[in-house]
Amino acid sequence: MGALQNLEIRRSSATLRGGGTGLRKLPVVSKYIDTSICIGCKACEIACQEWNDLPLSKTEQTGTYQTQPTMSANYWNLIQFREVDAPEHGLSWLLRKDQCMHCDEPGCLEACPAPGAIVQYVNGIVDVDPERCIGCGLCETGCPFDVPRYAVGTNKMAKCTLCVDRVSVGLEPACIKACPTGCLQFGDKASLLQVAEHRVQQLKEGGFTQASVYDPKGVGGTGVITILKYGDKPEWYGLPRDPKVPTTVSVWKRIIHPLGFVAMAAAIFGAIGHFMAFGPKKPKDTSRETGGEV
């Protein structure tokens, strides 16, 4: 989507210099998802499909209240359904809205080799520009949430854009607009975190003593904050306990890359230096030694 959104870019994939001007400041935005009052109506799924002009996908019956087994390149927003037997509260249906988490330190962006294919706007939204995406799939390795999906045929990566086209003109994302229970809210992250704290307090008073806000620090926090009744068990919701950009991706980009440049330069300058110091190794001119006789 890139420059079309009229939003300043904070970070841009595979860009060494010039990946953001640092001129303008905008509040960091966030989705707020209160899983405790989600009724699983799927209005957000349909709104996402409609707004983003994604072809409607046939639902797949997997024996649960989930429309698809997993997200896809044409299905960016999925209400995941899980049934757990919580020791204190008995059988519980857990509904969790799964989509791109819009990490503050996006692993996909770090792993991406295509300049500008993945960008992070100043308001924290992580977006993908399919024109610049080369379909290599490295973002999948960088993402701790298993979000990137690839279009069949072109292999272009697709995911939730946080409706950046709506947000940039002052509207809320389509999923938020469609939610009938107030489970989904949108706004600047700082205020939403206060709302979330309040809600967690309510849940704790209501007996869910482990309730918490899921805003993992390992990726610098996320642009999607999720309230979990069973905050001590994020894996019950299909969320990683301590997500972070894979160490290998950081090691690769921050250590091996610089060392690689040093090694390449060393090889080239080593060869030049060696030539100057030791010169070419060639047969002695025997004709001179033997007085002209070859």
Partner: protein, 231 residues
């Protein structure tokens, strides 16, 4: 066998070195010794072309610093597609090259004496027992074979990332990267030693022949074996 008929020159009968070098090697033709027969040379250059193809399409994916290389092939998306196929072609060519040279590349007792530092000093004291390939060349051969295999296997993982697990993909990125850096450094050394550093060597990979003094200097035992000259 054409006869050279140059006015004023002594007519030379028999095949020229270049003709012999089409299908035979390790033979002496006048002042020249055939070092690489035509098939070995062709395979070497096929490997080289695919190597540089894969290198130049891979480097812009490796770092935006080399983004300009992508322009040579029509953009980064083309590179992402072409790189994989060139990599497969490179690996296939390396397999052929491997079987052409593997018998000559087995390390022998004499190779233990090889000291790379001493060798790179380019002193005149060459080990008289160096055969057709010295230990450094043999090492390079096995390095290409081993690294080539690793870079192929990790490349397959990176080609279809969705078919492999996250840990395997992560490791493959690192290994693929390290193989590339190793290859880059090695190829710089290989080209340098094969051209500027040791004049006469490049000719052995183009026309197939080297001169007697070259052979005596760089590969004394091979020189003795081929020419029978024990002086």
């Amino acid at each position: 066998m054409s006869e050279l008929r140059i006015p004023g020159a002594t007519p030379v009968a028999g095949p020229t070195a270049i003709q012999v070098a089409r299908d035979r090697e390790d033979v002496v033709i006048g002042d020249e010794i055939v070092r690489h027969r035509l098939s070995s040379r062709v395979v070497h250059w096929v490997v080289a072309v695919f190597f540089f193809g894969a290198l130049l399409t891979g480097m812009p994916i490796w770092s935006p610093v080399f983004g300009w290389m992508a322009t040579l092939f029509g953009g980064l998306s083309v590179c992402r597609w072409l790189h994989a196929w060139l990599g497969v072609a490179f690996a296939a060519a390396v397999v052929v090259m491997f079987f052409i040279w593997v018998r000559d590349m087995v390390f022998d007792k004499n190779d233990r004496k090889f000291n790379v530092i001493e060798y790179l000093r380019f002193s005149d004291r060459e080990d008289p027992n160096v055969g057709k390939y010295n230990a450094g060349q043999k090492f390079f051969f096995w390095m290409v074979a081993g690294t080539g295999l690793l870079i192929l296997l990790t490349g397959i993982v990176l080609w279809w990332p969705s078919s492999f697990s996250q840990p395997l993909r992560s490791i493959s990125i690192l290994v693929h990267d390290l193989c590339f850096i190793g290859f880059f450094a090695a190829i710089v050394g290989h080209i340098y030693l094969g051209t500027a550093a040791e004049p006469g060597t490049f000719h052995s990979m183009t026309r197939g022949t080297v001169t007697r003094p070259w052979a005596k200097l760089h590969h004394p035992r091979w020189y003795r074996d081929v020419t029978g000259d024990r002086s």
